[in-house]
Amino acid sequence: MNPGRRDRIATPAIGEPAIVRWLLIAFVVAFLAVFLLMPLALVFTEAFAQGWRVFAEAIADPDALASIKLTLLLAAICVPLNLIFGIAAAWAIARFEFPGKSWLNALIDLPLSVSPVVSGLCFVLVFGAQGWLGPWLAGHGIKIIFALPGIMLATLFVTLPFVARELIPLMQSQGSDEELAALGLGASGWRTFFRVTLPNVRWGLLYGVLLCNARAMGEFGAVSVVSGHIRGLTNTMPLHVEILYNEYSFTAAFAVASLLALLALVTLALKTLLEWRGSHSPRRAAH
């Protein structure tokens, strides 16, 4: 929707009395300030409560640095894999008709409705010491649960829907006329994909990657179940925040938390920027 049209709607012929309008605005601003802005402000205030030096020390702590590295590594592995999945799923669902398509579409959403703890639990049941594959894995000296592969699987599970969720409706609304034209002119399938499809969906793709990345770096419940919380080894940033907090190292906990909050702010800013570009329809139903 272009801003001009929005402004015209903004001068209503009918409407609530001014007093009602201002009361409602005041209520909503106050509510959002208390519920959204205050927690955010608190994270940064607490992080710097004892000054820059304490903040820097908390971040430079070897365990904190290891958790930051692990979190970055996780995102670097999980985001590209789920990006490939998202593109494949969108291509199959938005470009072809096949039986069971609506079920497949619904299944992609499944990880969003499953409790993160339950998603962690399923991998423990498959790969854990008492799991289906546990004895075999132990016999071959492969460690999945309480090690990087388990954390990776849990993160892949929870971040699976994000790219597909953005691409499927976008590609459905664009239709395949341009791709058919490219093919008709003799382009190969891959060439058509890279030169026609990908440029057309690039903003939606970026949007999905952004959300996927935020969740990959921030996931707590699922990762917590499979990680084993080994300091400096299998601790991601959110898990490190928990450990510090439970040890009453509040300033250090909030220092690491402030990095994650910063990530959230950058994500929101980029997301808003992408929406303003207009190529991506803003405010689709959440999820």
């Binding site: 929707m1 601003v29 205050m38 992609i108 409705s113 703890v117 917590s224």
Partner: protein
């Protein structure tokens, strides 16, 4: 139809199905397989344990209360953001998604610090006798935080597309503004509110990270079901953990079906209305 004219059907569907099966379907099926090994009687026995039952009840009702609260406040927020113009509106609109972007553990410790007895908000509430942190009320507060964007983002697009001519018609026909909102606007956005409510509820039932810090985690009082799964796992009681997880998965499936039915209904209505 474009069927089979475009290349890559086999490859893309193959990748999709393989990835989905390996990562989601087989692991989730293993929960049900494990539960089947316990038998219905075995699962029921674990569910009826008082501590388990009260954890499941708490997760369910806290999520229900938070989602209901969000359905009302979220709709008001959407209304104000869509219909009114005021300074700072765009900033607030952008910040609505904060709970999606902020890692749950960060939200958890921030909310706890806010509502604890010496916190920015807690220090004002405590003298009034309202304890929030380390009580079930704190759980609801965390779930309200987590669920708010679902309702706002469901209602916003429907509200901004809704036809104001209908409201004007109601006004010219002598309807009061309040009447027009209740009779004309509310029915149009009701499915969207319900969808947002269902999404917020589904998310809140299974929520873990933002809740465990503020909850206090007292068995039978403020211990949520996901936490009890974690506790059972730490005790190596895989049967107990699986049985609780089965209850939560069944609820999640039911919610997923409900949400898809609602979204299909809303989409049909929006198309019909245009």
């Amino acid at each position: 139809m474009t069927r089979r004219v475009l290349p890559g059907f086999g490859l893309s569907l193959g990748v999709t199905l393989a990835w989905l099966s390996l990562l989601v379907l087989i692991p989730l099926a293993s929960v049900f397989l494990k539960a089947a090994g316990l038998g219905i009687a075995g699962v029921w026995e674990i569910w009826s344990d008082p501590r388990v039952a009260s954890a499941l009840r708490l997760s369910f009702f806290a999520a229900l209360i938070a989602a209901a609260f969000n359905a009302v406040t979220g709709t008001l927020v959407a209304w104000v953001l869509v219909r009114y113009r005021f300074p700072g509106r765009r900033l607030l609109d952008a910040i609505i998604d904060l709970p999606f972007a902020l890692p749950t553990a960060v939200a958890g410790i921030a909310l706890t610090a806010l509502y604890a007895g010496n916190g920015w908000i807690g220090r004002w509430l405590e003298p009034l006798g309202a304890k929030v942190a380390y009580t079930p009320v704190g759980i609801v507060v965390a779930l309200v935080f987590i669920g708010l964007p679902f309702v706002v983002r469901s209602v916003q697009p429907v509200l901004s597309e809704s036809d104001r001519a209908l409201e004007e018609a109601a006004a010219t026909l002598g309807s009061s503004r309040f009447n027009a909102i209740v009779r004309v606007v509310l029915p149009a956005i009701a499915p969207a509110i319900l969808t947002g409510f269902a999404l917020a509820f589904a998310r809140a039932v299974g929520e873990y990270g933002s809740v465990i810090f503020i909850a206090g985690n007292l068995p039978n009082v403020s211990e949520i079901a996901p936490l009890l799964i974690v506790i059972r796992l730490e005790e190596f009681d895989y049967r107990g953990a699986t049985a609780i997880a089965t209850a939560m998965l069944l609820l999640a499936f039911a919610m997923l079906l409900a949400i898809h039915a609602l979204q299909a209904f809303t989409a049909r209505h929006r198309r019909a209305g245009q």
